[in-house]
């Protein structure tokens, strides 16, 4: 439990540095440390599949962000309506905290999940699907519709990015 709390404090400090840093490169590197801490947290919580995925996606996001922000250092916009936006933000935080306090009391305690469907997967998964990696058997056999939707979302994202930033057909102004 102590290592989870230390990782959480590390991630919160990284997020605060990412907000308060003066230039964009330091901010991007601080966001990268938050993702790395999240990956180690998944490893501590005994979920190596998600830890591997989080690590590689974090590296990819870091490369894309550095490649996108290293050329131009955008200046932060400070408009004159800071009192209004601060008031709105504080109001939303208060509403969120109130609803979260109501909701979190209903959840099972940390580390003691309710195992209604998951116990069936753990018992029957190997004989029904034949896959020794139970995460893979859930993602591609029991919950294959979710994976089909995920693949559709990814395919649509690739097509959408190419349609927006393509060079053919762009008018020269």
């Amino acid at each position: 439990m102590i290592e989870l709390y230390s990782l959480l404090i590390f991630m919160i400090i990284g997020a605060i540095i990412a907000i308060e840093a003066k230039d964009l490169i330091s901010s991007v590197v601080a966001v990268g440390t938050v993702g790395l801490g999240l990956s180690i947290t998944f490893l501590v919580l005994k979920a190596p599949d998600i830890a591997i995925t989080q690590l590689v996606v974090e590296i990819l996001c870091l490369i894309v962000l550095i490649r996108a922000t290293i050329k131009e250092d955008l200046s932060f916009s400070t408009s004159g309506r800071w009192a209004f936006s601060t008031l709105i933000t504080a109001g939303f935080i208060a509403v969120f905290l109130f609803v979260a306090c109501k909701c979190l009391k209903e959840l099972p305690e940390f580390g003691y999940p309710t195992m209604r469907v998951a116990s069936t997967y753990l018992k029957e998964g190997l004989t029904e699907t034949g896959a020794t990696n139970l995460v893979s058997s859930v993602a591609l056999d029991y919950r294959a519709y979710d994976t089909l939707g995920e693949v559709t979302v990814l395919f649509t994202a690739v097509i959408g990015v190419l349609a927006i930033v393509r060079q053919v057909g762009r008018k020269k102004s």
Partner: protein, 150 residues
Amino acid sequence: MIKEDEKGMSLIVKTITRLTAGLILLYGIYIVFHGHVSHGGGFAGGVMIALSFIHLMLAYGKEVVFRKLSKAAALFFVTLGAILFLGIALLGFAKGHFLLNFISKGEPFKLFSAGIIPYCNIAIGLIVGAGFFVIFVALVSLKFEKEQKE
């Protein structure tokens, strides 16, 4: 293996990249193919495959990578992965319902086991690997065009 060019980063980065890019690609393919036996799967392995090409691109520049995997070929692999996944799902109608695990399960801990799960993993690995590579190429070339205008 890779012809030396003037573009890209320094000689040290190029030498290290020549040694490691192939290993990263092989490890990604291993993760994709063993997704049903050990940890990993199509998504993580696909991102590793994309990262090996992006690694090559950062060190050597665009032209060397496009000689190995052009943009049209990457788009072809994205579409092939999507059609492969949908085709495997539709083949389930031959024995029953949509997305049915219709191939025999085989022995556990073997490479060819668990029915359709490895084939679905390969399809997801294709679509993720080629898709992230195409997105990265699109973002980078957009930057280059914007710099040329200024």
